[in-house]
């Protein structure tokens, strides 16, 4: 298992497609139809990364991103949008999304790379945590 991934998109066809695609690539994938549903999934299940659309009913992607940053600072968030505007890209950057990928038509490579990079960064942290497990509290990060 390469990692746990949550796909958030209001269009079921896109959700299903991404669900299949990343499962095939070896991820454990969950899905949600909007920001609120996504938060409900996150309360139940630990996730490593979220791929979220921006324009969605109930709760849009930028609000979800903000909420994830507040509640789950460790989760990596990759935004995708079909509506390419500077405002969208800036909103993603200000709220510290990993990246903003424009819904690609001919190549999924950029999205795959983004997920791969996010998972690799998490893996590095987890390695660090494992190394620190043997240390007592207060000694963390300090050389003996």
């Amino acid at each position: 298992m390469k990692g746990r991934l949550l796909i958030v998109d209001d269009e079921p066809e896109i959700r299903d497609m991404l669900y299949r695609h990343f499962r095939l690539l070896g991820y454990e994938v969950s899905t949600a139809g909007n920001g609120l549903e996504a938060l409900a999934v996150l309360r139940e299940k630990r996730m490593d990364a979220v791929i979220s659309d921006i324009q969605m009913p109930e709760m849009d992607g930028v609000s979800l991103l903000r909420e994830i940053r507040r509640q789950y600072p460790m989760i990596r968030v990759i935004m995708i949008t079909g509506h390419v505007t500077l405002e969208n890209a800036l909103a993603c950057m200000r709220n510290q999304a990993d990246t903003c990928v424009f819904k690609p038509l001919t190549d999924m490579g950029e999205l795959e790379d983004a997920v791969h990079t996010a998972m690799a960064a998490l893996a590095r942290w987890n390695r660090k945590f494992r190394e620190l497990k043997g240390l007592k509290p207060g000694e963390a990060g300090e050389l003996p």
């Binding site: 066809e13 497609m17 991404l18 690609p104 001919t106």
Partner: protein
């Protein structure tokens, strides 16, 4: 000029007529106020009238009042002629709307001079009216342009909306196809280990055709992706902002637009070097200028059996030049002198507004470039537009260049 004389006295009418004819005027005479009023209402009414005050029926003062009540863009110049020499009568006549006042007996020289004043004013009024008509036509043409721009903006918004709507379904078609492609590759790998019986013709078909089906889907998605890109490009075209544009791209769009004006017997030859630098321009406006030049070139070659339209590009210092050359009859000197003047056209009435080249030149000047015409030594007309190259415009280099 034509002058109306209204006087009930036959002798003074004849004297006046003779005097006017001697100074080269044409006389229309009326025997009383009613007749004068009839004449003045006609569309070809004289533009200057000398009215006797005292006439039976309708007097001169009443005629003046009636004329002034009527609104027309070219009112006649009215001179009141009377024996009443007092100041009070003069004021009454002028207040009623007379332009001038002459008391009998008059000095023929004074009459001539006063008519000359009237004639001058009438001419001025005509010039003004012509200008007003021209301005009105210009305003109408501009309004049409604005309406067109507005329609283009609406189309642009529509194109952006369509692009967005197409994008989502295209995304999941493309995504699914890519996942399917990888699944298929996995399946084929497994089959290599445990092959299906080769004898099953249907399986053989699937194994052979499935990759082609996938390729077909990818091809379709690729085309949709290009259409979406085009629509997005179109949506951004309408905005009045200038950006770096490649003349090659602009011209290829222009040639698409011009398909309906190109004639099969005319060969189109485009020579834009790849090294041509990008220009700083409002793409839509430059397209408009080029379309206009190509249309004019086609019109110039309307009577030609063959010939070619040549569009070439080169640089002159910081300027990018595009020349549109036809093999028509060329431009006579009197046409060449006025060709960019608003309302100047060599086309039949109703066919050309005489504004195309005027607007084109103003667009080019607004871009910090220019547009000029000349005749090629080998015959035919050449229109050349020049635009600052993008890097030059960006560095705010002043544009220098000699207009031939």
């Amino acid at each position: 000029m034509r002058i109306l004389i209204a006087d009930d006295d036959i002798i003074s009418r004849s004297v006046l007529t003779l005097l006017l004819q001697k100074t080269g005027h044409t006389v229309v005479s009326a025997m009383d106020g009613h007749e004068a009023w009839q004449v003045l209402q006609r569309s070809d009414a004289p533009r200057l009238a000398i009215l006797d005050w005292m006439m039976p029926g309708m007097d001169g003062l009443q005629v003046v009042q009636r004329v002034r009540r009527r609104t027309t863009d070219q009112p006649p110049y009215l001179i009141m002629l009377t024996t009443k020499g007092d100041g009070e009568s003069l004021v009454r006549a002028l207040d009623a709307g007379a332009d001038d006042y002459l008391s009998k007996p008059y000095n023929p020289e004074e009459l001539r001079a006063r008519i000359a004043v009237g004639e001058r004013l009438v001419r001025m009024q005509e010039t003004l009216a012509t200008h007003a008509r021209e301005m009105e036509a210009l305003a109408q043409a501009r309004t049409r342009q604005l309406l067109h721009a507005d329609r283009m903006a609406t189309l642009g918004a529509l194109a952006a909306g369509i692009a967005h709507e197409i994008n989502n379904p295209a995304f999941f078609i493309a995504g699914n196809a890519q996942t399917l492609q990888r699944s298929w590759d996995l399946l084929v790998q497994h089959l290599e280990a445990t092959p299906l019986p080769k004898t099953d013709p249907q399986m053989a078909f699937v194994l052979e055709e499935a990759p082609r089906m996938l390729a077909g889907i990818f091809k379709g998605v690729d085309r949709i992706s290009r259409i979406v890109k085009g629509l997005k490009g179109y949506a951004h075209r309408g905005s009045g902002e200038k950006s770096a544009c490649h003349m090659q791209e602009i011209l290829s769009d222009v040639m698409e637009f011009c398909q309906n004006v190109l004639k099969p017997q005319i060969r189109v030859c485009i020579q834009l070097p790849d090294t041509l630098p990008p220009v700083l321009a409002n793409r839509q406006q430059i397209e408009q200028v080029l379309i206009n030049l190509i249309r004019n070139a086609m019109d110039a070659m309307a009577d030609c059996e063959g010939g070619s339209l040549k569009i070439s590009g080169h640089t002159e210092g910081p300027l990018v030049c595009i020349a549109v050359a036809d093999q028509g009859p060329g431009l006579p000197p009197e046409v060449l002198a006025r060709i960019f003047a608003p309302f100047f056209t060599t086309k039949k009435a109703g066919e050309g507004t005489g504004l195309g080249l005027a607007i084109s030149r103003s667009i080019m000047e607004e871009h910090g470039g220019d547009l000029f015409a000349c005749n090629a030594p080998a015959g035919g007309a050449v229109f050349t537009l020049r635009l600052p190259a993008f890097h030059a415009a960006h560095a705010l280099t002043p544009i220098k260049g000699d207009t031939p």
